[in-house]
């Protein structure tokens, strides 16, 4: 039985090698795709998007536990297509963009889940850091890497909605985040 075993590990190595060779850093921003959020007001879902964000993604399918995902989002770039609501969203009761201009997400290590990958990272929003699970699928396309997924979070865990807005009858607590990106190779990170 020794020979087949050796053959097997050989085969594993063979499949690993190209993966290691292509393992790389990726990056993206608002020009790479969309980063959206969907909230519920008075029983109706509405969506908005962030007009300014940056993504850094180091990933090796052969060693997903070593992968890193970093996202930085300009909170003042939240856009819901309604000026009055956007002002409110950027203001003190919600993102307080003046005081907390950035929201960040940092995850280390990914676990496979079917065709998708799952990460439990830390989201820092309005000065509060909480674990948030992100689930995404990867799809290589030529020189780019498609990354599509999302997360479900609760706005009140981060203090998004102060004062009257802590009630959830007219503005629900759960908020869904979705992204659909086409990342490009991070050439700067490729050099050691």
């Amino acid at each position: 039985m020794a020979i087949p075993l050796r053959l097997k590990s050989c085969a594993v190595l063979m499949t690993l090698l190209p993966a290691i060779a292509t393992a790389a850093g990726w990056r993206g921003d608002q020009h790479s795709g969309a980063l959206q959020f969907t909230a519920t007001q008075a029983g109706a879902k509405f969506s908005g998007h962030f007009g300014e964000f940056k993504v850094k993604f180091d990933f090796d399918a052969a060693n997903p536990a070593k992968g890193v995902l970093d996202v930085a989002i300009a909170t003042a770039s939240a856009d819901t297509a309604d000026r009055e609501r956007d002002e409110l969203l950027h203001g003190r009761d919600f993102f307080w963009a003046e005081h907390f201009p950035q929201a960040t997400y940092h995850a280390e290590g990914f676990k496979p889940d079917g065709k998708a990958w799952v990460a439990i990272g830390q989201l820092t929003l309005r000065g509060v850091t909480q674990p948030v699970t992100v689930r995404f699928e990867l799809k290589p396309k030529q020189k780019r890497l498609g990354m599509k997924g999302g997360a479900a979070l609760r706005r009140l865990e981060f203090g998004v909605g102060q004062g009257d807005w802590t009630e959830t009858n007219w503005l629900a607590d759960p908020v869904d985040v979705a992204f659909d990106l086409s990342l490009q190779p991070d050439t700067a990170a490729a050099s050691p």
Partner: protein, 182 residues
């Protein structure tokens, strides 16, 4: 009172639809005025959400009412000068048109401002148009103008009904009331 209309009186269904819509229009006006004076907060979102739900209810009732009217035509107008009959028809037509136009422009306003409509939190309505700030502002003016026209036309309608009842004393008001005329 019968379900269907008779020459001397509207039937119970037509009467119920008439008065329920009258009641809802008063609720609608009140909710809009209250929301107008609130700062953007949960109370305003809630009040406007109710306004939208009631508006969609009026739209559904208007559809039902028009369908019922086709099935059960209203009683003929009592004898009156020709210009008055014409005025009555024009007034009725305008009120029907506005019962559709007001909810529809309101619904479009909600879509244009990316505040989708939910009917009492039970189901969400599709957006009629995409988010568009300028279009929303224009719709807001139109919605308000339609309200002003509706208020004027309804005022004429009420004045005419009262004139028939109390000056002509032809008992016209009882055509739309469940009680006996004498």
């Amino acid at each position: 009172m019968t379900v269907r209309s008779k020459p001397a009186r509207y039937g119970s269904v037509a009467q119920a639809l008439h008065w329920v819509i009258v009641g809802l229009l008063i609720v609608q006006f009140t909710l809009a005025k209250v929301a107008d004076h609130l700062p953007l907060g949960p109370d305003k979102v809630g009040t406007l959400a109710r306004h939208k739900s009631v508006g969609i209810t009026i739209l559904m009732l208007a559809i039902l009412r028009l369908a019922w009217r086709l099935f059960d035509p209203p009683p003929p107008l009592p004898p009156m000068p020709r210009w008055q009959a014409t005025a009555a028809h024009v007034t009725h037509f305008a009120m029907y048109a506005l019962l559709f136009a007001m909810p529809l422009t309101g619904w479009m306003m909600s879509s244009a401002s990316n505040y989708p409509v939910s009917w009492f939190g039970i189901f969400q309505l599709p957006d009629l148009v995409g988010p568009d700030h300028d279009f929303k502002e224009a719709l807001e003016d139109i919605h308000e103008t339609f309200f002003n026209i509706l208020a004027t036309v309804a005022g004429l309608h009420i004045a005419a009904a009262l004139k028939h009842q109390f000056i002509d004393r032809d008992g016209l008001l009882f055509r739309m009331l469940p009680w006996r005329s004498r």
